[in-house]
């Protein structure tokens, strides 16, 4: 059995081992069976097309793209998953990384923001780092890619591989420990006439998750009366408190949205006036006013073909994608040409060139507390405040053109307490947050066969990206008032990698060896500059610097460069396709670290045993069975640049030159080192009806990089106290992964394939340095014996039925005080001591954000020409700290309230877990306690796709070789413990006021000429 050796991805593409991805072909004749017995080549689109093929049975025969090359899946000794374009081609994705859903069990992903083009966060096999970046490395067409993934047209992508264990990523050395995503773009098919494909997708974006359940205007006023009244009781006594609350509630809330006088809205018993009717009931829905149906159009035209000695693929794509907020949209033009040629008997060469331009308008969904953030604003503003201005009778105030004007919250008869003078929707309309970018780059190689089995390859990869950003603040309302201001920035990223690889392979008597040595150097340079000006001259001209009178921030610029040099080697050995052994070594030098800490050797050994090929193996139902194991070390260099170089930063005092101490460097800092072990079994049963793999992994990170907070008394900069990057501490991620592919139904007209991915992650810190045994940060505490995402919160003990006080467990280090002279924070109920102030409460571990089990599943059904595909992700167990909900349960004049506030304590004896509403007790009653934790168990329906494939016979008259249409819903639904909560927002299990994911309804056509 002869194997085709494919030591390098681009070489492999040329050599034709990878399947042709001609679109013409996919609709054409059945793919011819692979000639080589062991290298079963399944065109990525074939599963889609040819449902009678039991393609899943062939998974052990697939070729997958791995580090610096490709490999037959059968010979893999590491943990690698791959997804091909058929599995995402019909999803309306703008960012290619969204197509990774359900690639395999090892990948965990947040749900992308609804801002079109935005990138989701990814983690491979748990959380290998705490402070250093934990995102996987991205490789495009064989070379590390430093550009923005949103610049890539998903229609150009043929496959994506996920490299999970050290055996797979060791050749990426100091960058390999977070896993690697390898994206390979399409290429032409040699010896075919030119085929053309037109792909079109039209859709509409809407908000995926509803708003949290909130109280309405009629409920709100009496509730806030009660909140005010309960605050007054302590100083005024009961009767007066009621009276003052009735008289004064309107002054506190600013607005009276009802048709009754200000002091008669709520009566002295706290009841809403029965005659109260809203004056502008139709203008209170901020969410509706701030969202729209955003249209999405996506077109790609591609060509591919070739002759005996050359092949090419070329495409042009255009996408315009409008978010469901009026201020978000994304436009992209793409072009790509991939051409390869055999120049003579021993030289092959190729070039893959791409370019894109993108224009993005961004909704400033920066998080909580940013008034310009429409998500924060519309969910936080109380339900009595109108979007638009109204006169005292409730009629809309109109501008000179007869249009509604936005309400700025400031009126002579009262201000809106939440963000007076502001209106996020008005500001969104008037401000500009715009980015325009150009990306271009190339991958090129020359491949020379020097002797039989000996090949030299030189690869050069170049990526360049230039972005001009504009941030305009209008002079009318908000932070730009009264003069208007503009910040402009320019950033240029240039990266290249250059390598020389020498491959040798030889086979004899069942033995087969392939070896590679190489050298690589790479660099990434980012140059940026910024300037801010103020005082706009001509109102229509927003984006040009000369249209402003004053420079308000001295121009700044920066240049940051990172360089890597590495020596690579790998050897793969197999005997009779039964025994496989593999080893690789990379010696890496990395400019991020001081000279003495810069060089290190990363390596791995791995092996596999295909038991099913042994003579002694006889089984009627086991068709393939492979055991594999790997062990190796890789690094994580995701720290800031130049952290080993200390220094002063410029801080001029007016005209006098100045600087201050800016950074405490650590010359001993080096990468986090990750030792990773993988043991797995791959199987195929019942003639491939069931196949899959089970892997057990253990990733141990040592020399964990922490940005260790230093004492405040040690000084700092205007951004806060110093912290120092240090290699301290260890942690591990352990778990089990399962992939199960089943052909549930396999019939003439009806097929149903089902793939299940499941994974567990056990994350645990095993060592912290003596000097910092614990780090408390936000809702978490980092400490030995706990995961990095274990919640550490005040211990909530419920509500005192006697008076509605919030009860917490008293911190045992704080002395009990129930008769302090000015405050009596603590109390004893039935012999148990509590505190009512969260600041005095005991903090404790309260569970983890990491689910017990997580994964994804795909269901692919086909009935005659119809197909129905479903992709879902799920997680079971784990908790979410719902900060968004917490703020809606913490009353404040002018702010919205959760519907759950209706369950508050009201009178002696009330048994509830929602404390008394009380102006005086805001923070103390609402501290960061386990009260805000909720189950993170969820099911997300990522994609539903209903397709129809036209019969070829019917198409011939149209001169088409293939035509598919489909209806698709992306981000269809999320089932979770609370309405409105996005469980997949962060890995750390917190929620915030961010751009919530979008749902996309779309209709698509793929036509092949």
């Amino acid at each position: 059995m002869k194997k085709i050796l494919v030591p390098l991805s681009l070489a492999a593409l040329v050599s034709g081992v990878l399947p042709a991805r001609s679109h013409g072909q996919t609709q054409g004749a059945r793919q011819t069976a692979p000639k080589k017995s062991d290298t079963v080549v399944i065109p990525p689109s074939q599963r889609l097309k040819n449902w009678s093929d039991s393609s899943t049975a062939q998974t052990l025969g697939d070729v997958v793209v791995v580090a610096y090359g490709t490999q037959k899946k059968a010979s893999l000794t590491g943990a690698v998953a791959q997804i091909s374009d058929s599995q995402f081609a019909k999803r309306p994705i703008t960012n290619i990384l969204d197509g990774l859903t359900a690639i395999g069990p090892g990948l965990q992903s947040t749900l992308s923001s609804g801002q079109p083009g935005s990138t989701s966060n990814l983690r491979v096999r748990g959380f290998g780092s705490i402070s250093a970046g934990s995102s996987p490395l991205m490789v495009v067409d064989g070379m590390v890619y430093d550009g923005d993934p949103s610049g890539i047209n998903p229609a150009d992508v043929a496959t994506m591989s996920l490299l999970m264990d050290a055996a797979s990523t060791a050749l990426y050395g100091s960058r390999g420990s977070n896993g690697v995503i390898v994206i390979t773009t399409k290429k032409g098919s040699r010896g075919k006439k030119t085929a053309v494909q037109f792909k079109m997708n039209q859709g509409v974006n809407v908000r995926m998750l509803p708003e949290y359940a909130q109280v309405n205007a009629y409920e709100y006023y009496p509730l806030m009366w009660e909140y005010y009244r309960n605050g007054l009781v302590s100083s005024q006594g009961g009767y007066l408190a009621n009276k003052y609350a009735t008289e004064g509630i309107k002054e506190n809330l600013g607005y009276n949205p009802f048709n009754v006088p200000d002091d008669e809205i709520v009566d002295i018993n706290g009841k809403l006036n029965p005659n109260a009717k809203l004056l502008y009931a139709d203008d209170l829905d901020w969410e509706k006013a701030g969202t729209r149906k955003g249209f999405r159009q996506d077109y790609t035209m591609s060509f591919n073909g070739g002759n005996e000695n050359a092949d090419y693929y070329a495409s042009v794509g255009y996408i315009t994608d409008k978010g469901y907020t009026p201020t978000a949209d994304f436009k992209r033009w793409n072009g790509r040409v991939n051409a390869n040629a055999r120049l003579n008997s021993f030289i092959k060469a190729g070039v893959n060139v791409y370019g894109s331009t993108t224009n993005t308008n961004q909704t400033p969904a920066y998080g909580s507390g940013y008034i310009v953030n429409p998500f924060y604003f519309s969910r936080t503003v109380g339900p009595i405040y109108p979007v638009h201005a109204h006169d005292p009778n409730g009629a809309y105030v109109l501008d000179k053109n007869g249009q509604h004007i936005y309400d700025d919250g400031i009126h002579t008869n009262g201000n809106r307490p939440f963000s007076p003078g502001r209106n996020a929707l008005a500001e969104g309309e008037l401000n500009v947050n715009y980015l325009t970018g150009i990306a271009m780059g190339a991958r090129t190689y020359v491949d020379a066969t020097l002797a039989k089995g000996l090949k030299l390859t030189t690869n050069l990869g170049l990526d360049q990206e230039t972005t001009e950003s504009y941030s305009y603040l209008n002079p009318t309302i908000g932070d730009g008032s009264p003069a208007g201001s503009l910040s402009r920035g320019n950033a240029r990223m240039k990266s290249y990698s250059f390598n020389q690889l020498l491959n040798y392979n030889k086979s004899w008597d069942g033995h087969s060896i392939e070896a590679m040595i190489g050298h690589e150097n790479s660099s990434r340079e980012t140059i940026s500059s910024n300037i801010t000006v103020r005082n706009q001259i001509a109102p229509g001209n927003k984006l040009e610097l000369e249209n402003y009178t004053t420079v308000t921030e001295a121009p700044t610029s920066s240049t940051v460069e990172k360089r890597i040099e590495g020596y690579l080697s790998r050897i793969n050995y197999d005997y009779s396709n039964i025994y496989y052994l593999s080893a690789s070594l990379r010696r890496d030098g990395n400019s991020l670290f001081a000279a003495s800490k810069r060089w290190y050797n990363f390596g791995t050994v791995s092996g596999a045993w295909r038991i099913s090929k042994e003579d002694f193996f006889h089984s009627s139902f086991v068709n393939d069975l492979k055991l594999k194991a790997s062990y190796g070390s890789v690094g994580n260099d995701n720290v800031g640049t130049y952290v080993y170089q200390s220094g002063y930063m410029v801080n001029n005092n007016a005209q006098e030159p100045g600087y201050i101490y800016g950074l405490i460097a650590n010359k001993d800092l080096t990468w986090e080192s990750n030792r990773s072990m993988n043991i797995g079994v791959e199987f195929s049963l019942f003639k491939g009806r069931i196949s899959g793999n089970i892997d057990v992994y253990n990733r141990i990170t040592s020399g964990l990089i922490f940005n260790v907070p230093q004492p405040l008394s040690g000084g700092g900069t205007p951004s806060g106290a110093f912290s120092i990057w240090m290699n301290v501490g260890n942690l591990y991620n352990r778990g089990v992964e399962l992939t199960l592919n089943t052909e549930v139904i396999k019939g003439r007209n009806f097929n149903w394939d089902f793939t299940l991915n499941a994974m567990t992650v056990k994350n645990k810190i095993t060592s912290m340095p003596e000097s910092i045994k614990e780090i408390i940060s936000g809702t978490k505490k980092l400490e030995v014996g706990h995961s990095i995402y274990d919640f550490y919160l005040y211990s909530w003990k419920g509500v005192d039925p006697a008076n509605g006080d919030a009860l917490y467990e008293l911190d045992d280090k704080i002395a009990y005080e129930d008769n302090a002279p000015y405050d009596d924070p603590d109390k004893t109920i039935k012999g148990v001591r509590y505190t009512t102030a969260s600041a005095r409460a005991k903090r404790d571990y309260q569970g983890s954000a990491i689910p017990d089990l997580q994964g994804s599943f795909r269901s692919d059904m086909r009935y005659k020409n119809f197909s129905l595909n479903l992709v879902c992700t799920y997680q079971i167990g784990g908790k979410t700290y719902d900060g968004v909900y917490a703020s809606m349960m913490t009353p404040s004049f002018g702010n919205s309230l959760s519907k759950d506030i209706l369950k508050r304590w009201q009178a002696t004896g009330d048994q509830t877990d929602v404390p008394r509403m009380d102006y005086l007790k805001g923070a103390g009653f609402a501290g960061s306690s386990n009260r805000w934790l909720v189950s993170a168990t969820s099911l997300t329906v990522n994609s539903i796709n209903l397709g129809y494939d036209f019969n070829r016979a019917a198409l011939q008259r149209l001169h088409l070789s293939g035509l598919q249409t489909y209806l698709s819903v992306e981000n269809a639904y999320q089932f979770s413990a609370r309405k409105g909560m996005n469980v997949l927002q962060t890995f750390s299990g917190t929620t915030g006021d961010v751009y919530l994911p979008r749902r996309v309804y779309s209709l698509g056509v793929i036509a092949n000429l």
Partner: protein
């Protein structure tokens, strides 16, 4: 296969060829290397200038934290002379003493602690390096003198917040501050209040000595008069009245008090002859809404000024005679249109007018939030002198020095024979009026052991904090130490009683 051998040769050559040794040497372009920064006195001057800039730099990325200006604002809103006219005011929580200085995780305590240590660390670097720097002894003395003055001042600011009130009759051995005299020392426990004051005095004495022959280029720098003024403040706080008297008198020598026209010009120019020390901000170093003038001025169109202009408590206002220029600083009616308010782009008024709103602080250009902020004025020295004389029982001298000051404000002011109680009252009324909004009130109440009394604050929300106990008894007069400090020092620095 001759050609192939050529390729083989190239291949081997290519593989063996590594990059040059310098390939991995990249150098940061955004910083001045540590070993170059302080080798000359010119470099040391730059570090000192950097510290001057910290004084008005936005801190922690927050709009309400802008260097010393924010400390000044906290000290006033936590007192009783400023009332807050809206619940949406950025400073409503510190005003109500809610969830702010007694919350160990609040930004307020973090700032009021870290800000001064930020200055101290840079100053310690100067003190550690200036003697070895190349340059003239004259420069070295001027730099060192300012450095000691800064350090003494920074510890003094903090000890008044985090330590218990200094009592000249007491031991003062309660927990003070961690003293750090060199850059990046290992964490040490808090020294006692007494030890901290000893350190402050040692630093200020050195500063006064070293700054003897130094003439500054502008008033963002500290000269001998400033060091003496600081020493006077410290002595007053320690109830060491003779030193306070002597130092205040020496400090104000050479300064002239403002005339009434200058007094009304907005308190935004550090070249005003009466100013002894001020921060000067220029337009391309703006901090936007993180500015003293984005809260304290009457005419910059910040949301806070539009909705919650700063007001004086009526009882204090009514003590000012109408012949006094300071009477014109506040509008008791809330309807006087000669008081500027924020305007929109069309020139329409968009700011609220409320009773007792102020126009002491104004920005020169309403499009910009910048303005110079006074840290020390000669008028304060007169007031220190008057107070010190009073407690030294030099009543006549106290009256005389008070007269010299107030006469400039109110031409009708006369020395009237007063009994001691009346004189004491008069001195403090003048102090409250003169220094209103300049960040003294909380410190004054604490050093004088006067409880907060807001019985005349008449807004609904004022009822949440009407009065406190005496600062010497009520532990709420001590700020809490930031939790981040306790965490990062592993408990070496300990918390105040909660």
């Amino acid at each position: 296969m001759r050609l192939n051998k050529t390729f083989l040769f190239i291949a081997v050559f290519g593989l063996l060829a590594s990059c040059s040794k310098s390939y991995l040497e990249t150098k940061a372009t955004d910083r001045i290397p540590e070993d170059e920064a302080l080798t000359t006195t010119a470099g040391c001057w730059k570090l000192l200038n950097g510290v001057h800039r910290i004084m008005y730099s936005s801190q922690l990325g927050r709009q309400d934290l802008v260097g010393q200006g924010s400390n000044m604002m906290f000290m006033d809103v936590m007192g009783d002379d400023i009332t807050i006219s809206s619940t949406t005011d950025w400073f409503i929580y510190p005003y109500l003493w809610l969830s702010s200085h007694r919350n160990q995780t609040s930004a307020l305590v973090y700032f009021n602690y870290n800000f001064y240590y930020e200055i101290i660390n840079n100053i310690n670097l100067l003190i550690d390096h200036v003697n070895d720097a190349r340059g003239s002894d004259e420069d070295k003395k001027a730099i060192l003198g300012q450095a000691y003055a800064y350090r003494g001042w920074a510890y003094f600011q903090m000890i008044q917040l985090f330590g218990e009130r200094y009592d000249a009759a007491g031991d003062n051995d309660g927990p003070g501050l961690r003293i750090t005299l060199h850059s990046q020392e290992k964490a040490t426990p808090r020294a006692s209040v007494r030890v901290v004051y000893d350190q402050i005095n040692a630093d200020l004495d050195k500063a006064i000595d070293l700054l003897g022959g130094y003439t500054r280029t502008n008033k963002s720098h500290l000269d001998k008069s400033v060091a003496q003024g600081l020493k006077a403040r410290v002595a007053l706080t320690q109830q060491d009245y003779q030193v306070a008297l002597d130092m205040a008198k020496a400090a104000r020598t050479g300064y002239t008090l403002m005339d009434s026209v200058t007094y009304m010009s907005g308190f935004n120019d550090y070249n005003t002859p009466e100013w002894m020390w001020g921060m000067h901000q220029q337009e391309n170093q703006t901090t936007y809404f993180a500015s003293f003038f984005a809260y304290m001025s009457c005419n910059f169109p910040a949301q806070n000024i539009q909705t919650s202009p700063r007001t004086i408590v009526d009882t204090l206002y009514y003590l000012i005679p109408s012949t006094d220029v300071r009477w014109q600083l506040w509008d008791s009616t809330g309807t006087n249109h000669s008081f500027p308010v924020p305007l929109d782009a069309d020139g329409k008024e968009i700011g609220a007018r409320v009773k007792f709103m102020q126009r002491k602080f104004k920005v020169k250009d309403p499009a910009m939030s910048i303005g110079d902020v006074p840290v020390m004025r000669a008028a304060e020295m007169y007031l220190i002198e008057a107070e010190a004389n009073f407690y030294l029982h030099n009543d006549a001298a106290a009256q005389q020095v008070l007269y010299e000051l107030v006469k400039k404000r109110d031409p009708a002011y006369k020395i009237t024979t007063k009994n001691r109680d009346a004189l004491e009252y008069e001195i403090f009324v003048q102090r409250r009026i003169e220094l209103w909004g300049e960040g003294f009130r909380f410190y004054d109440l604490k050093r004088l052991d006067i409880p907060l009394d807001r019985s005349r604050h008449d807004r609904a929300w004022s009822s949440y904090l009407k009065r406190t106990g005496k600062p010497s008894i009520d532990e709420r007069w001590q700020f809490l130490i930031p939790q981040a400090e306790i965490d990062a020092t592993h408990g070496v620095v300990k918390q105040n009683p909660l």
